[in-house]
Structure formats: C-alpha cells, structure tokens
Subunit: 277 residues, 2 copies
C-alpha cells in the first residue's frame, strides 16, 4: 500500500481548525475530500497535530495511504487543483511502511507574531496579535529563554486536556524584534516574534506562554515569573491565552529526516509571510 507524507501550508483564518468537525470547514476535511476524489473512495488523513481554529501553518505534515500508485508530484498537483488557495500542499513524498505523521514526529516548531504599534495594519492583522503600548522585548526574551529544557508545563496547559504526561522538552524558546518600523512611514509599529521548538506541546501551551510573555513585556511581571508558572503547575498562575491568529505551525521534524533544528534567522522576517526557521 503506497504511503505518502505531505507538507501543508494554510491560512487558518476561515477554518474551524485542522481537525474535521461539525460547524465549519476544516483543513483535514478539505484534504480528505480531495484525496477521496483521487482514490475514488474514503481516505483517512493523519495530521502531525491538531491546530486550533484560526491557527496557521507553514509546515503542517500529514500521512495517508492510497490503494493506487501515484507519482508524488501528481499527488501534489491533484490536491492543489482541488483545494482553495488558502490551503497549499507544498511538498509530497513517499513514506516508509507504517509511517504515522503524529506518532513519528520528533520536534515541532511554532511561531507567534505580535504587532506592536498604535494602529493595527490591515496587512498583518490576519497573522499577528495586535498589542499596542510599550513592550520590553529584551525582558520577554529573557523570560522565554527560561522555558528551554525539560519541564512540567502543566501551568501552561488549558483545561480539558487529557494527556499521559505534561512534561515536555523545549529545545529553543526566544523572542526577538523581527522588524523595526516594518511599514516605514506608512503604519508605524514593530513586529515581535516568539519562536519555539519542542518535542511536543500541550493544549494552548504556546498561546499561554505568549500571553504570559506579553505581561512581562508590559512590565507587569518580571521575566522570572515565567519559571514560577512552570513551578506552580497551575494554569491559573499564567497569563491570558493569546489569540489564535498570531500562531503558526512552522515545521514538523521526523527522525528519518535527521530532525535537524536550525535556529531562526533574525533577518527579514515580515508579517503575512512567516518564513520557515
């Protein structure tokens, strides 16, 4: 049975999330429908992880099998021809027998974008949380770096989760100023970006971290408070959950690919684009 792995980019704005569910269009649902036309029957698609409603992806991955043998380029073209422009298959490859996009994933990289300016530009609003007022990026970065390592992240997990363990390893966690005066003299402001890579993430974990880091950036909390939230293991210790639309699943890494972690470049990141690290 030919197994495939695809890499998918999507603008999450109009979706109920990755996972097929009642109430609106899902990315998984659109892909399964397109695959069903290709296969001539139902196809189950397994994503590396569920992204929430409004969350974007540059490099979500998913696996599936087809009964017929298809060239990977043909699979990619056939899917893109059937999908709306908000969802693009950016790569298709064959996968080893038994490959599972979720269980075999070793690392995931997320990016969260904050637009820090008085006026929220129409061009970043789909892909960045608008936070007006002063924001101390260096303090946010100091707080972010305290999360690197193996920790129990129960303090950053939303209620309603059901996971065996709340321990996760964060390989890289940093906040940086990606663009100073990104709109020239048009829409003054700056793009502040949080990049995080880990072996897995709890429900709403990245967004709860970002909400807390913004409290640090506003001077309401010290950077060390981030470690106190981890130590407390209580979700009510953390800041608010940042909105979904600033978040993007950048990349999923597999052992068979060597699971290299490249550090994010600080050059030239711009909103509405979110380059892969």
């Amino acid at each position: 049975v030919p197994a495939f792995r695809i890499t998918v980019a999507y603008d999450g704005t109009g979706f109920v999330g990755w996972q097929r569910q009642p109430g609106g269009p899902s990315v998984q649902g659109l892909l399964e429908d397109a695959l069903g036309e290709l296969e001539g029957g139902p196809v189950d698609l397994t994503g590396a992880g569920r992204t929430d409603a409004g969350v974007h992806a540059l490099g979500q991955t998913a696996s599936f099998t087809l009964t017929k043998s298809f060239d990977t380029g043909a699979v990619q073209r056939a899917l893109n021809a059937r999908l709306p422009g908000t969802v693009r298959v950016v790569e298709a490859r064959t996968a080893p027998d038994g490959f599972h996009a979720r269980f075999d994933a070793r690392r995931k990289a997320y990016r969260y974008q904050i637009w820090n300016g008085d006026v929220a530009s129409p061009f970043v609003r789909r892909f960045a949380w608008h936070v007006p007022g002063p924001l101390d990026v260096a303090s946010m970065a100091a707080g972010a770096r305290l999360l690197e390592g193996r920790h129990d992240f129960a303090g950053f997990q939303s209620a309603g989760s059901d996971v065996a363990t709340t321990e996760r390893t964060i390989f890289h966690s940093d906040v940086r100023l990606a663009a100073d005066d990104a709109f020239g003299d048009g829409v003054p402001g700056r793009l502040v970006v949080y990049d995080v890579t880990g072996d897995g993430f709890l429900r709403h974990m990245v967004r709860a971290i970002v909400g807390s880091l913004v409290d640090v950036g506003r001077g309401r909390r010290r950077p060390a408070w981030v470690s106190e939230i981890v130590g407390s293991k209580r979700r009510d210790a953390a800041g608010r959950t940042a909105p979904a639309h600033g978040l993007c699943l950048v990349r999923v890494e597999y052992a068979q690919d060597g699971a290299k972690v490249r550090m994010a470049s600080t050059d030239g990141l711009r909103a509405g684009q979110i380059p892969v690290e």
Copy 2:
C-alpha cells in the same frame, strides 16, 4: 471650516474599490459613513485617486472638512473605532484652506508584487500575483527603466478613460527581487516587486505595464518592446493587464510636504506587508 487630510491603509480584497458605488462595500463609503457619525450629517470625502476593486493601499490620502473643530488624534481614533480592521487611518493632520487631496497631489508611488514559484503560498496570495515558471528579473528591470521620463502612455491605458492628456512623467520605475526563497524550505519561490513613482497614472496603467514586463520576464519579448508600446500609443500593443490584487498604492506626495522621493529599500521587503518606499 476645519480641513483635514488623512492617510489610509487598506486590504482591498473585499472592496469594490476606493470609490463609493453600487454593488458592494467601498473604502470611501465606509470612511464617509464613519465621518458622518462624527459630524452628525453627511461628509464628502475626496481621495487622492481611485483604486480599483481588489487594489490595496498603504498610503492612500483623502481630504474632508468638518463643521466642528476636532483634534487630529481624536479624528483618527474615532474613525478607526468605526472602521473594520481591513481599513486603518494611519495618520490624520489638519490641511491648509482649500486643500484638495486629488488636485494637490504631486506624485504617487505604486508597488506591484509577483509571487514567482510553483505553488502560491496562502500567505502571499492576497497581495501578490502568482506567476509560475522562469522569470528573468534583470530583463524585466531593464524594460521597466525604459519607462522613466516624460512619455505619452496611451499604450498602457485601458479603454473607457476620459483624460485631457495621456502624457505622464515617471520618476522611478524598477523591478527587483525582494525576497529569494522567501519561505525558506516551506513554500519555495521568490517575490518579484515592481516599484513605480510618477506624477500621475492612467487607468490600469501600472497593471498593463506589469503584464507587459512579465511577457519580457518570460522571454516572449525583449526589454525594448516596452518602449515600442509607448511609441505605438495603442493599448492593444501591450501585454495583458495584471490582476488587481498584486497592486498597492504606497504613497501620495504633496508640494506642501516637499514631495521628496525616496528610493525603495531592497532590504527585507516581504509579502503581505508592502513597506512604504
């Protein structure tokens, strides 16, 4: 009578264009409605120029008068509070008596973005024309530069225009590679940008230029063909009109501001953002 001048940024995707007209929401209409609430009666808004359906703006300008005296910051905040997030007033200032946003404009700067890659990224699709296949950027730039100077641009004007003269002066016209591999290993491709500044533009002129430059980039025409279109003064001599959604009105300059022309920076431009030159 207090006169005001505002600078407006908008994502043109969902609009019938700048100008109020039947058939859908216009940027002018939304602004006039918001101003009407402020004034307590109808307000006429004059834009520097009409942008077509789907065309974006970073720095459209418009003028209006109010009977009451308002602080410029209050005008900006009141308008933004009433407008959807796709339209933002990025600056409000008082204007000299008799100021007219259209008649007093001295120069306009437009930018056109082309996404050159096999797959159109979901993150640039609202703000860039997707042109797959090889594109010779150096040839496009050579053709673009031939347009600088005072010329009769009738060859790049759409039918249905009614203007006194089709002569215009182009101060700056250039094509550049704004981002090479803009999406890292996510969505491979490159962003090609056309920047043009002139004392005025005919109907669909920038889009007809871009359509012709893409013919040059594809190797179907030589760069000198651009001058032949100008010489012909016949619209059917030019290439197709490029789609609206790649175009953005970047800036309008007035004599009272010194009408300085700054050259575009080649650093860090990214799609979905379109920094001001």
